[in-house]
């Protein structure tokens, strides 16, 4: 444990990824500490999603390494990375539409009554998920509600609460505010703030500087696969970042 805490939570070192002749990411490096929130910014085609998929384990880098708590992630499957504490919240949340909140919350890690028979402990699943969701500041009518009745923000908030419950260490939020109303975005930001209080490292991918500016600790800006710059929050304004994204030039 002490060994792990001496290293940054996530360290991306000189990562390069190409798809045929297209260079999706070129020599990108940055680090993320525990409880830190990085706003990963860039226009379409900047390489943000490729970087998230490299961390998730969907792709492997052609060059460079990704370290999690000091250990290389190379060769680990998405499932193995999830077991290490790397959770992803995709657009729309990682939920199945026709299943209720509790079943979704524990999907893949169900609470079982008789382990050998794999029987679900449904009452415990509802109880535990309701407790965690409330603790994360999310207000839902019931954990018996099916998630296709919930708004996009609520679905993502459930994924965030799940990360907290399973003691995830790193959360990758891929365009979480896309298609959300102002109120929904506020609710989601509240849930993300709760996650920060749990000392979870967060990478927040977005086009919208204003959605991430208040809650981020630093910003990583990509442009056409290249790292434009890494800026601590107290050194920049939202307008600086927008200009940087627009021109692709460092500040």
């Amino acid at each position: 444990m002490k060994e792990a805490s001496r290293h940054p939570l996530l360290e991306i070192k000189n990562v390069k990824k190409t798809f045929g002749k297209v260079i999706a990411l070129n020599n990108v490096s940055f680090a993320l500490e525990r409880g830190e929130l990085v706003g990963l910014l860039g226009d379409n085609g900047a390489g943000k999603s490729t970087l998230i998929k490299l961390i998730m384990g969907i792709y492997e880098p052609d060059e460079g390494e990704i370290f999690f708590e000091g250990k290389s992630l190379r060769g680990l499957s998405p499932g193995q990375r999830r077991a290490l504490g790397i959770e992803t919240v995709p657009q729309g949340g990682a939920v199945v539409p026709y299943m209720d909140v509790a079943r979704n919350f524990f999907l893949g890690r169900e609470i079982l009554k008789f382990r050998c028979l794999k029987i679900l402990n449904l009452s415990k699943m509802h109880e535990e998920s309701a407790k965690m969701i409330a603790e994360a500041g999310i207000r839902l009518r019931s954990t018996y509600e099916r998630v296709n009745f919930l708004s996009g923000g609520e679905r993502q908030a459930i994924s965030i609460a799940r990360t907290l419950y399973f003691k995830g260490k790193l959360m990758l939020l891929d365009e979480p505010t896309l298609n959300l109303s102002i109120k929904e975005t506020d609710k989601l930001i509240d849930a993300i703030n709760t996650a920060k209080n749990y000392k979870i490292g967060i990478i927040f991918v977005t086009h919208n500087v204003y959605h991430v500016f208040d809650i981020a600790d630093k910003f990583v800006i990509l442009n056409r696969g290249n790292l434009v710059g890494i800026y601590p929050k107290d050194m920049v304004t939202p307008n600086d970042l927008i200009m940087c994204i627009r021109t692709g030039n460092p500040l």
Partner: protein, 327 residues
């Protein structure tokens, strides 16, 4: 108070709402046939309906689980017939009764394994794979039997255990059906496998991202369908004491119709075992009712098609009203 009512209401599984449609259709069919002929509600007729329900239900109930996990099996009718013929041939060779039953079920599991492996490993569409297996099995069956039925002369304990008469025309197969309904209802709603089946059909990408072995879940469902189709074939053989190579032709469509009428979403992720069993009861009632009113045999398929269309329209409306727009 309103919150309390809302919370209680939400505890009712929304997946059961489509069962209202099939239950309504069942009542209407019962009233229509009951009005036309006074034989429809006689005990012997009801026993006949339950016997047919058992054979369709044993196939359509696990098929509902497979459809919920977003796959299909069109080879169930051929597996049903093949298992019956296999059972008859083995019993004629004086093989131990329970070894015969085990052999038939293992045969069904093997067919399910072949279907499931081709679908999950080679990523082939289940519709085409199982259609191919359906033709292969039916062809082999005709080769083995030369198109003639295989009969078993004499009595055997196995035939009674499977489908012997209990009282009047009521048969053992109805008890097997009830056990099958309870077992698969429990699997779907109270086990991790059921939860994973719902997830595979609801959103396979999320299921995989959550670490669910989707291929294994689907393979198990194919195996369950194979096993119970073979068991249903043995029930049919036990009823007649004879196995026909043409038995079960069209059964795959009846079973799919029953599951869909019972509220299973064809694209997966939604459905109930209770609904599917009511769907089987509806189809069996239709089959027996049409015979009782003296309708020409050819009308049966047309009626099943009509009921299926009406049922699916009712289901869609119920889903839209009560379940939400995404269905």
């Amino acid at each position: 108070m309103i919150d309390f009512v809302k919370t209680r209401f939400l505890k009712i599984e929304h997946r059961y709402f489509p069962s209202v449609g099939v239950l309504g259709s069942l009542i209407i069919i019962g009233l229509v046939f009951g009005f036309i002929t006074n034989k429809f509600f006689k005990l012997d007729t009801l026993a006949g309906i339950f016997t047919i329900t058992a054979e369709i239900g044993m196939v359509c109930i696990p098929l509902a689980l497979l459809i919920i996990s977003a796959e299909f099996d069109l080879s169930v009718g051929s597996t049903f017939a093949f298992a019956g013929v296999l059972g008859a041939l083995l019993l004629n060779q004086r093989v131990n009764s329970f070894l015969v039953l085990a052999a038939a079920i293992i045969f069904g599991i093997c067919i399910g394994t072949i279907n499931g492996t081709l679908v999950t490993k080679l990523r082939l569409p289940s519709f085409i794979v199982t259609l191919g297996i359906m033709f292969i099995l039916r062809g082999l069956l005709l080769v083995i039997t030369a198109g003639f039925p295989v009969s078993f002369k004499g009595s055997n304990m196995l035939l009674f255990v499977l489908n012997g008469k209990l009282t009047g025309e009521f048969r053992m197969s109805f008890i097997w059906l009830i056990l099958c309904v309870i077992f698969f209802h429990f699997i779907l709603n109270h086990t991790r496998h059921g939860n994973w089946s719902l997830a595979c059909g609801g959103n396979v990408d999320v299921a995989q991202a959550m670490g669910i072995p989707t291929s294994r879940v689907k393979l198990i469902n194919f195996m369950l369908v194979g096993a119970t189709s073979a068991f249903a074939g043995m029930l049919s053989f036990a009823r007649f004491g004879m196995a026909y190579p043409t038995l079960g032709e069209g059964m795959e469509l009846e079973a799919i119709a029953a599951a869909v009428l019972g509220g299973c979403a064809l694209r997966g992720g939604f459905g109930t075992i209770f609904g599917a069993s009511l769907g089987a009861l509806l189809i069996a009632s239709l089959r027996v009712g049409l015979v009782l009113v003296g309708a020409p045999a050819y009308w049966y398929r047309a009626f099943v098609g009509l009921i299926l269309l009406i049922g699916i329209i009712i289901n869609k409306e119920i889903m839209r009203q009560l379940v939400g727009g995404e269905q």
